[in-house]
């Protein structure tokens, strides 16, 4: 193998049709309102943890739908379950229950550290 001093860059494009999302289906069964999200960002804007950490519920929901949960699940650890997001969600989603369900389905309540 010759070392050319450069290599092939991996593609950043998401190929969603290849994404099998059984865990999202599980989440949908636990909290059916997750598909009502319109990504308006009210939750992220009012988030207490969002002021000081990278916690962003809008991003988390989107990444779960795209099958890229590894990138965003670690930020859920910062959630304090204060409920401000639930107060402002225009679609009436029970966001606290959603966050707890995500933790359950995607295994966040295990003690092992999730790599950021």
């Amino acid at each position: 193998m010759i070392d050319f001093g450069y290599g092939l860059t991996p593609s950043a494009t998401l190929r969603i049709e290849n994404v099998k999302n059984p865990r999202f289906m599980e989440l949908h069964a636990l909290e059916p309102d997750v598909v009502k999200c319109i990504a308006c960002g009210s939750c992220a804007a009012s988030c207490s943890a969002g002021c000081f950490t990278e916690m962003n519920l809008r991003r988390v929901i989107l990444s779960l739908q795209r099958g890229r949960e590894k990138e965003t699940l670690p930020m859920l650890r910062h959630c304090m379950l204060c409920g401000k997001c639930q107060l402002v969600c225009p679609r009436g989603i029970n966001t606290r229950h959603l966050i707890l369900s995500i933790g359950k389905v995607y295994g966040l309540d295990k003690k092992e550290e999730v790599q950021p």
Binding site: A12, T13, R15, V35, K36
Partner: protein
């Protein structure tokens, strides 16, 4: 002998205005260039937001044409001003001299082949919203095999400087959501994507339709405009868009793509504007006297508008303007002629 009024354009606006004018005691002369009356409404299957059938709306109108002189397959040859009347010559040789003309020429559907990057007319699996309505109406079996994933592309020919149409066509977003729901009702196992720039759900019950699409039918909405479509070796489509909310480019293999073609100004507008010295806006639609308080009167005496000739509109707005125009014409014709 009741007064004649010439109504140019036999779509829902023209037919409704003619009925109202006839009820007020006038004789409308309704002129339509296509072989049948009904305009674009005659082509649609079911209307938003409730799914009422288009023919159920159109049929009572078409059965109530007594007292209206209508000519199909006829075009306007010329219109000239003679003192305070208009002399209208038709392509069938007839002519009429009237004090009032109502323009209900409507819109033309944007020609999707102008958006070359979407491959309409080149890839078989790319169709337009109008063709989809044709297919829903016919109830035929699917024309393509192995359809698992389909997509709707919003804003084709609307809000697009390159396509020459800067305006929003108003109704395509809710039509796309309606068609997505209809698809899922027919084929529940399909995965349906809607690629939008902004979702315009302005009317009553439109937001509920959006919610129904998300919750009941699982339609996936991606905020990002489709940039290009290409074909695989077995005829399936690769659609490229950006998921702007997530911040990554997407490439999805699809089995069918529906282009939501917008409303473009009717092709007859420049010629008619020239004949009657009317002005059109920068977007190509006729300009009424005021977009807010007098959308049905023009800057010329005796010329009135109704319907999407002055800009994209929904059916209820069109029917409302038709009645508005009929009353305006009635008031104009009852004022004494200027000496």
């Amino acid at each position: 002998m009741s007064q004649n009024v010439v109504v140019i354009g036999g779509g829902p606006a023209g037919i409704e205005a003619s009925r109202k004018l006839r009820d007020l005691g006038y004789t409308p002369i309704l002129i339509e260039k296509e072989p049948v009356l009904g305009g674009h409404l005659a082509r649609w299957d079911r209307l938003f937001p409730d799914g009422v059938e288009a023919r159920a709306v159109l049929r009572p109108m078409l059965e109530d044409l007594d007292g209206i002189k209508y000519f199909t397959d006829t075009e306007i040859a010329s219109i000239n001003r003679l003192k305070d009347t208009w002399v209208v010559k038709l392509s069938n040789g007839l002519s009429a001299q009237v004090r009032a003309i109502l323009l209900t020429t409507g819109f033309d559907l944007f020609k999707a082949e102008k958006k070359e990057e979407y491959g309409y007319g080149i890839y078989e699996r790319v169709i337009t919203n109008a063709e989809l309505e044709d297919w829903f109406k016919s109830g035929a079996a699917p024309q393509f095999d192995k359809v698992h994933t389909i997509g709707f592309v919003h804003c084709v020919g609307s809000r697009d400087e390159k396509a020459g149409n800067r305006q929003c066509s108003k109704v395509c977003c809710v039509t796309a959501v309606k068609q997505a729901c209809e698809f899922k009702e027919k084929y529940p196992d399909l995965t349906v994507y809607c690629f939008y720039m902004d979702l315009r759900m302005f009317g009553r019950k439109y937001e509920d339709l959006y919610l129904k699409a998300q919750k009941e039918h699982g339609v996936r909405f991606v905020r990002g405009r489709v940039s290009e479509v290409s074909e695989d070796i077995d005829g399936h489509l690769f659609v490229k868009a950006e998921d702007t909310l997530f911040g990554k480019p997407l490439k999805i293999k699809m089995d069918m793509l529906v282009l939501m073609c917008g409303m473009a100004p009717a092709a007859s507008t420049p010629a008619l504007a020239r004949m009657m010295s009317l002005s059109a806006g920068e977007d190509g639609f006729f300009l009424p006297q005021s977009l807010v308080s007098s959308p049905c009167t023009s800057s010329r005496e005796g010329v009135f508008f109704a319907g999407s000739a002055t800009g994209p509109k929904t059916i209820p707005e069109t029917l409302g303007e038709a009645a508005n125009a009929a009353l305006a014409i009635d008031r104009y014709l009852k004022t004494p002629e200027k000496a």
